[in-house]
Symmetry: C2
Subunit: 246 residues, 2 copies
Amino acid sequence: MSDSDGPGDLTRGMRLLWRAVGGSRRGPKPGLDVDTVVRAAIAIADSDGLAGLSMRKVADHLGVGTMSLYTYVPAKAELVSLMLDAVDAEGALPHTVPGSWRARTEAWATEDWAVYHRHPWTLQASSRHPLGPHTLRRFDSALRCLAVTGLPEDELVATVDVIDNYTRGMARRSLEAVELERRTGVSERQWWAGHEPLLETYVTAAEFPEVRRVWAAGAFHGDLDSFAYGLARILDGVERRLGEAG
Amino acid sequence: MSDSDGPGDLTRGMRLLWRAVGGSRRGPKPGLDVDTVVRAAIAIADSDGLAGLSMRKVADHLGVGTMSLYTYVPAKAELVSLMLDAVDAEGALPHTVPGSWRARTEAWATEDWAVYHRHPWTLQASSRHPLGPHTLRRFDSALRCLAVTGLPEDELVATVDVIDNYTRGMARRSLEAVELERRTGVSERQWWAGHEPLLETYVTAAEFPEVRRVWAAGAFHGDLDSFAYGLARILDGVERRLGEAG
DNA sequence: GACAACATCGTACGATGTACCGAGTTTGGG
DNA sequence: CCCAAACTCGGTACATCGTACGATGTTGTC
């Protein structure tokens, strides 16, 4: 993760994201287009992660020279911005789900959770990328999920932030195990089995009493769906707020 | 962020983190030690970010050859693991704060928020690093903040996860603006002013009705402390759960 | 005093993003 | 119809990165 995957000139990236780029007239017909490059890059990131994404790999995948990519994309940072926005073009928008605001919000969070598992690299990308049209459309849809609650506008935005951050964070945790297995071939169960003696030694009840207590109670191996549990708590909190306001 | 900042051999990194490294007898006295290297690395990351952290810079800062660092640290990934754990050694543990569980939890979240602002690079590091003793001690302390609620152990862990993820996510958002200004010299207010015409053009009421509505209501420029607001909603949700259980 | 174990670090290698420039291709304006 | 402008393509080159390797020097133990 790094730092340098942030966009350079924001306005330049913005115009590309919003497809406000002047179509050229003269010169040879381009053999590729931005979307093709972005699709190829996403395919590579899906299988190799963000660190495995290099301009050379994308170019090879497309059968062109590395530097030809720079005809379509000003730099890697902008490419990643485009990738992030392209991912948000997938799938249905949550506000169209029938039922209560709570049902819609749960559908939205669950769908996002699935997207993060389909494209784990989205969680590795820094969040300093400019908003593209598809990302903003999803944000609009999320706001609409909660609009019927009648919450004031600033609280609405803050509530969407809570749910969004929670979903990202839990997906990140869940993906750690998956990524660990992909890279080392060690499953989570095997990892715990292999490290249990080490943990028993260092994680003493004297120094970490509460950790030992919940560990002994099986809190780390239980079958509580902690994503759904946490989401339910958050939505309970929102509901209570609705009651307060009237 | 990348991908390659994940640790290689987990057991090797673990032993270093937990300081289970055999002290050597023979040979010249080491001129440095692990903690000195880690402190220097943290100082650089604080000012230059994770991407600005290179082994060469750390070595220069310490007045030694680049490769000498590898005497103390097996690779950069393990160095970052050590840095993350070292940061968690700072400050008081939240469970010692007097008052209700709610007051303690708020203190804990606020303290973490401050840590993220003191060391923004901790949010850029991937979360695939092994847990060190200080990080685990903070986790233990967080569990203790909520233990008096009487929640079942698995729900306790899930609740800590909710709050932790929320805090990280909001800190990340807050730091975007800070980092943007640091790198480009453009303040958030200036950025909005500069992009307002562009936004007015592309973010149409037809395509993004709800975004336009909350924008017009000033939801993005208001002075709602959205971090505190979201935290209050989450803790409300926890309280309601306590009522349900008995 | 010899030898094993260690610290130090110069050199070198393979990646990476991308600046630069030359060469080839298309097309609008005269 | 022609040619210069505007463009695509991509090879080469450079700076920067993590780090493997091995030579050289230093220290503690027998």
